[in-house]
């Protein structure tokens, strides 16, 4: 583009954002490291991390975070893929359905937990429907502290419901990049809708699927309020332990150590993301 108005203007326009992000991201990251390896006497020690590893909740939190992630990802990708393929078939009214599918995007994790609480509590709508239709004789305790499967199921459903729309938006954009003539050619040669989907659409959609998966993974490490709303502290997760270490135990060192773990996991995922997509893919302007 043009350069005559001086090379400095774009930098002047960018500078405030860059300065802001450095202060709000780089500085606290350094502070988090200092807090997690520092002690009250200003010495360096791994004592906080040892304390975290010895914490009974740490192993549970670690396991639960990954369990929820592993259950959510396939469910969510299947749902989002179904939605994306449907919308992309451009049936009459597909725009309305697309809008409906994206509405949960506006819901926060805390609110998603509260929304699904209406379904899963003892006197909630799930039990009401099951009992009215004679499937169960008395209410099931889906969210009881000793019903691990019930708690995990409720959290997986609530969190998949909320974030499927994010995956959907990434997949829809990917589908639109697939040239129409590819599909028309396949149709011309007599490929059915199923075969076109399996052999043309899905392979071409791989970059979008990968990027959706990694974005989803990064968000999973921050899962917290939806768990608190549905399970309280009966199902520890990493971000939840970070929060309670700070807010309840007032142990900023331990909270920072949990924070460092979450940041490290996220950074690994982001690096994988950038490696997979590569700088060239990222530049594709839409």
């Amino acid at each position: 583009m043009r350069t005559r108005t001086g090379q400095l203007l774009p930098f002047t326009l960018l500078l405030p954002s860059i300065a802001f992000l450095v202060v709000l991201i780089v500085v606290p990251m350094a502070e988090a490291l200092f807090l997690s390896v520092g002690t009250e006497s200003d010495g360096f020690s791994l004592e906080t991390f040892q304390r975290m590893l010895a914490d009974v909740n740490f192993n549970d939190a670690w396991r639960n975070t990954f369990l929820v992630l592993l259950l959510i990802v396939p469910l969510q990708v299947a749902l989002a893929l179904a939605m994306a393929l449907l919308v992309n078939s451009h049936f009459r009214g597909h725009r309305w359905f697309f809008l409906i599918y994206t509405v949960p995007l506006a819901v926060s994790d805390l609110a998603a937990g509260l929304l699904w609480l209406a379904a899963f509590t003892e006197r909630g709508y799930l039990n009401s429907v099951l009992q009215s239709s004679g499937v169960i004789a008395q209410p099931m305790l889906w969210l009881s502290f000793d019903n691990f499967a019930g708690l995990v199921t409720a959290i997986v459903i609530a969190e998949s419901w909320r974030t499927t729309a994010m995956v959907l938006l990434v997949l829809i954009a990917g589908l639109e990049l697939i040239p129409r003539d590819f599909l028309e050619t396949a149709e011309l040669f007599g490929a059915t809708r199923l075969r076109r989907t399996m052999h043309v659409v899905l392979p071409l959609l791989r970059p979008s699927l990968q990027s959706a998966l990694i974005i989803r993974t990064i968000f999973a490490f921050q899962t917290f309020a939806v768990v608190f709303a549905l399970a309280g502290r009966n199902l520890p997760v990493l971000a939840g332990e970070a929060y309670t270490s700070y807010a309840t135990s007032q142990d900023e060192h331990l909270a920072a150590a949990y924070g460092v773990v979450i940041l490290a996991l996220s950074i690994v995922a982001i690096v994988v993301y950038l490696r997979l997509l590569g700088p060239r893919e990222m530049e594709v302007q839409r």
């Binding site: 774009p10 930098f11 509405v103 609110a111 609480l117 009401s128 970059p207 302007q285």
Partner: protein
């Protein structure tokens, strides 16, 4: 063409099933929030209630701390919008209109920031804000929310400026307008809907955010922070109304900015 009819039917049937899945929690929370006080512990609950009342909502709004928390949320969200646009709109304009060294690097920074778990940084930031005397202050919450919203603002606004032809601005300058006048009179007006969408997106991010808001405040709690803090003590009916009040504005807003969602979340 029987196969065609079958195909159609299958498409619509699956589309409707998925739509029900996307909408049913909203319906359940709405009928929960509208359940009259005497009926809140009825069981089994009717899926189609015959009587509705705003009594439980009234009770929620009257409970201590809720209205101030809503006002706090509003203030934080508006601050996030103002700071986010002030920082993000110029950056977006620079990305859309100029080629310069470091442009791709900055684009990468924006994308990484979008994915970065900024909320977690509230823990070290709390220590910093305590030292600066900014702890338990709405401004500190708004600053963290701005860091979360900034990449989205840059992507949405940048998308808008990229789509607008540059020629008009250049023509205005050729005709003697200053660069600034060309920007304000020619480039800005058609970008207003995009700026509004970015503002709404920033508002929703802030309105919804709970982790950083909970860590950074004790007395000046935002609505999600207040709700989270009282989760273990408040009665179920009030929790459900709380969910209803959190969801309501967010859903209205997302419907308003539906056209810009892809710029914010799609690949770039």
């Amino acid at each position: 063409m029987n196969a065609r009819v079958l195909d159609r039917t299958l498409i619509y049937a699956s589309a409707v099933v998925l739509a029900i899945w996307a909408l049913i929690p909203f319906y359940l929370i709405a009928i929960s929030a509208l359940t009259p006080q005497p009926n809140v512990s009825d069981y089994p609950k009717p899926l189609f209630p015959t009587s509705v009342s705003v009594g439980t909502m009234q009770l929620f709004l009257d409970s201590s701390g809720i209205v101030p928390a809503m006002l706090n949320s509003l203030v934080v969200a508006l601050l996030t919008v103002v700071i986010g646009l002030a920082l993000g709109a110029p950056a977006a304009y620079a990305l859309a209109r100029f080629r310069f060294r470091g442009r791709e690097a900055f684009r990468a920074v924006v994308l990484v920031t979008k994915m970065f778990p900024i909320a977690i940084l509230a823990i070290p930031l709390a220590a910093i804000f305590v030292r600066l005397g900014l702890y338990d202050n709405l401004i500190s919450v708004a600053l963290v929310h701005t860091a979360m919203a900034l990449p989205f603002v840059i992507l949405i606004v940048g998308g808008v400026f990229v789509a607008l032809p540059h020629d008009l601005e250049e023509a205005a300058e050729t005709l003697g307008a200053s660069r600034w006048a060309a920007f304000v009179r020619v480039a800005l007006p058609p970008a207003v809907p995009g700026l509004a969408a970015a503002a709404i997106f920033a508002f929703v991010i802030s309105w919804n955010e709970v982790f950083a808001a909970s860590i950074l405040t004790v007395r000046t709690r935002t609505l999600p922070a207040q709700i989270l803090a009282s989760l273990s003590t408040s009665p179920l009916a009030l929790k459900l109304v709380a969910g209803f009040f959190m969801v309501l504005p967010a859903v209205v807003f997302i419907v308003l900015i539906r056209r810009y969602l892809r710029a914010a979340w799609g690949p770039h």
